[in-house]
Symmetry: C2
Subunit: 262 residues, 2 copies
């Protein structure tokens, strides 16, 4: 079959944050049926070498990556646009729809598009340490590349007032070295210093590094761009852990009322 | 091997919200290696019949279910404590740690515990309609069984002020018929009536039913306990969809600033 004459398609997939044991069968099927893989280089490197054409790119060119994926699909290719974690959480799905909405090429509108969910980094990090996201929570990117820093601070203040557990994506990078420290400083004025904080780096991978600390003690320089930061609510607590995978479990109870009688 | 003499274990797993294509290989392995399945009956019904002992229960006895799972593990069984979606998001993982913390049986502390993440309902619902969770968001349970309703309203008001996308779990049930309507009424006083709202029921299953509407038009009586509700931020928007799986995509752009130049 000449792929230039076959109908093209574009499927946005998430690999999950770690190893293949978190890759859904749906995404495995999509990868097997794709002709072209488009994504951030290190994510594509996680997919076994095969017959695919690979279009790797740097991690700060999401819109151009989305446009390339659409162009390839218009040309009849079966394209997988690859994110780590879940493609809908600070990943490629939104960039794709931004490109589609721009309508730079009218042919893009006819491309069959599908989004396949994946295990997100926050869910893997939470499971690794227990159940910190077991009650109401919020999820913020600390990147101020695409939103004003004042909005980040406003959201952190309101999240503290709401007593949400807080999950922070993109806490730090070489180009954004101070944002996590500033965020922690703001939260320290609003929340108890003993609030549990988890720095979960590369969960599930060979270089996984998980630190359980407190808001008072948290050292932002120990995080990097692969770290997911979880900050507890007033109810988040520690339990001793004896299985050798850490000193403590971190969990947030299901409620504020007296425990269910059951 | 006599299971009473083998070391027991307890693994908290999430099946994903829908069909087997969202069940991770890790969880499939855990289920295959377990002797006992503990969980809400309809979730256990999704696991193929096998050699497992099944301990199904009603959906409002999470603590007693967690205690049963711990007792079985103490007795040497290899127990999978089963949630739909992800076990850490309004599911069994927090109930398990509440039971562990209660320490009702000192032997529980020696049970090897592990939590395996899954695709959560909000991620599957978001992928089904596009990328509504593509920017900062918050996740609330509307159940006031375990927290005061005033706290729910306070969080909704702060979430609106923060301009988070809002994902609502447990929007409605036979015992809680009015909460979703009251939540929508509160949000209508704070957010634009044209804000996109998604009612995503049983995504990925045979009886899936997805409605895309607006905050002004949303009819809470069309939701049920299997519905995940997504309410946009000020930036969430619709795009025409031509693939026959709905009239529109719903997505939230990655930022507020001018689009990335790439």
């Amino acid at each position: 079959m000449n792929p230039m004459r076959a109908p093209g398609s574009l499927t946005v997939v998430g690999l999950g944050p770690g190893p293949d044991r978190w890759l859904t069968p749906e995404v495995a099927d999509v990868l097997a049926q794709s002709t072209d893989l488009v994504g951030y280089g290190p994510y594509l490197d996680r997919i076994p070498h095969s017959f695919h054409r690979r279009h790797g790119s740097d991690n700060r060119v999401e819109l151009s990556r989305a446009r390339l994926a659409l162009d390839l699909a218009v040309a009849g290719r079966k394209v997988a646009l690859v994110s780590g974690g879940d493609p809908g959480v600070f990943a490629m799905a939104s960039a794709l729809f931004e490109a589609l909405e721009s309508g730079d090429d009218p042919a893009w509108a006819d491309v069959p598009v599908r989004v396949c969910p994946g295990v997100s980094a926050m869910l893997a990090a939470a499971a690794r340490v227990g159940a910190p996201l077991g009650h109401d929570f919020c999820v913020l990117s600390l990147s101020d590349n695409l939103k004003p820093w004042d909005l980040v601070l406003k959201r952190l203040r309101l999240a503290a007032e709401a007593d949400f557990v807080i999950a922070l994506y993109n806490p730090i990078s070489k180009a954004r070295p101070w944002q996590l420290g500033a965020a922690l400083d703001t939260l320290r004025t609003l929340k108890d210093a003993a609030t549990p904080v988890v720095l979960a780096r590369a969960v599930g991978r060979h270089d996984e590094d998980v630190t359980i600390t407190t808001l008072g003690d948290c050292d932002p320089t120990t995080a990097d761009m692969r770290t997911l930061v979880l900050i507890g609510s007033s109810q988040t607590r520690l339990l001793p852990r004896t299985d050798g995978n850490g000193d403590a479990w971190v969990y947030t109870p299901r409620g504020y009322a007296p425990a269910e009688v059951a």
